[in-house]
Amino acid sequence: MEDDILIDNYLKGLLSQEEKQAFQERLASDARFREQFDLEHKLFNALNEDSWSYIESESSDVDEYKNLLEGDDMMALKKTLSETNEAINSKTSSNRRNIFMYLAAASVVLFLGFQFFFNQDMSNQELYNAYVGLDDLPSFVSRSDVPNSLSKAQELFEARKYKDAINLFESAQNGNNNLAQILIYKGLAYTELEELDEAQFTFDELINSNLLDAEKGYWYKALLYLKADQVEEAKTILKKIVAKNLHNKSKAEELLDTLN
């Protein structure tokens, strides 16, 4: 037990300089102590979330894995992986560029005050406003509840204090039963702040989740594109909603009609 305390204190960095020196000398000379320390050290690094236990010596297994990775079939897999990665990520990065161009165009438009462009932007913006229904979102507040962080976040959202709302939603997000609803609120908060990249990211998180309400992510992502003036992207998603009979199918049909 004494050695145990000593090792603990060493691993937690609690020993003085001299004690540390003595500790290391003992490690060098006492094989049993070293074995004990090694295991403790590895457990400590592996099971503490802020560290990691690395391999420190050569092994035949490492060589074997390495050789296999150099084989033709694994090289072929690498190629597939990097192509798939590119396909998936270039799609999102080109969206990102479009959003950026929209923002740049919007600022030029504001600067020059071209009524013509402005009107065109407004119409998509108006459509977004008409369909998004910020005030009709499901509520986190139930009559019997004492106020909690979600109801507070909702209050902030309703007061249009989106940044603060996002912070609260994020802190409440982990392991919460209302995750889908939280992601919708959060994504819309980002949309309202025109942080379109983050908004898209949040809706994708919802879409790619296993949650029952995952499909709602498509509807809000379509609205996000609409707000960003990316009508074609919005239409693609709306068509998908209609074809696959997802959440808000009839609204999607209606909106598609208007956009066409």
């Binding site: 503490n48 074997e64 390495k66 992986l81 798939t84 990211f201 790619n208």
Partner: protein, 187 residues
């Protein structure tokens, strides 16, 4: 739902459509995790590719079995790979013994052995009693003894230390008794 080896087999058979399905179903979650933990999108892309290669080559060598869902397992591997990256710079400063991998393949190979050791430790931790597990998780998260006394109503820090000591010994006993131990501990 699906047999877990379905995806592993698809990886070593290089089936592009299934690789794509794995990406669509899992990549964005990993990206969110990496970005939230001080990484860039590019880091997430690297980690995800390395994780899939890790699974493929491990399955090719030893046909290992995933006990959870494929998605959950892949996410754990990605999380660990990202922990590994984040700690690399820290580790290099404090320990000169770290093997400097010559290339990506060697880095992936090293990461596999580390992941296997992590699995051995985590599985053993899951096997001990709930109360021991709880106290050890706090201990490994560097919770102070004073705090443990408060949380568990122990009479003194000495009692807390003894409790940790006993639980840790149980964990070490299980680790030492596991058939994987000798191969993984010397490394």
């Amino acid at each position: 739902m699906t047999d877990n080896s379905y995806y592993l087999k698809a990886l070593i058979e290089n089936k592009a459509d299934i690789v794509k399905a794995i990406y669509t179903a899992n990549f964005f979650k990993v990206r969110a995790f990496v970005v939230k933990n001080n990484g860039q999108i590019q880091d997430a892309e690297d980690i995800f590719q390395k994780a899939l290669l890790q699974l493929a080559v491990r399955y090719k060598k030893e046909k290992f079995v995933i006990n959870t869902s494929f998605e959950a397992y892949l996410f754990t591997v990605c999380k660990n790979l990202w922990r590994r990256e984040l700690n690399k710079s820290k580790f290099q400063v404090t320990n000169s013994d770290l093997i400097e991998p010559k290339d990506d393949n060697e880095d992936i190979a090293l990461a596999i052995m580390e992941q296997k050791r992590w699995e051995l430790f985590t599985e053993c931790l899951e096997k001990i009693s709930d109360s021991c597990k709880k106290i050890l998780k706090l201990f490994f998260a560097k919770t102070s003894y004073a705090k443990l006394v408060e949380m568990f109503d122990y009479n003194s820090e000495t009692v807390a230390r003894q409790r940790v000591f006993k639980c840790k010994n149980k964990l070490k006993e299980l680790v030492r008794g596991d058939h994987r131990f000798s191969k993984l501990i010397e490394l």
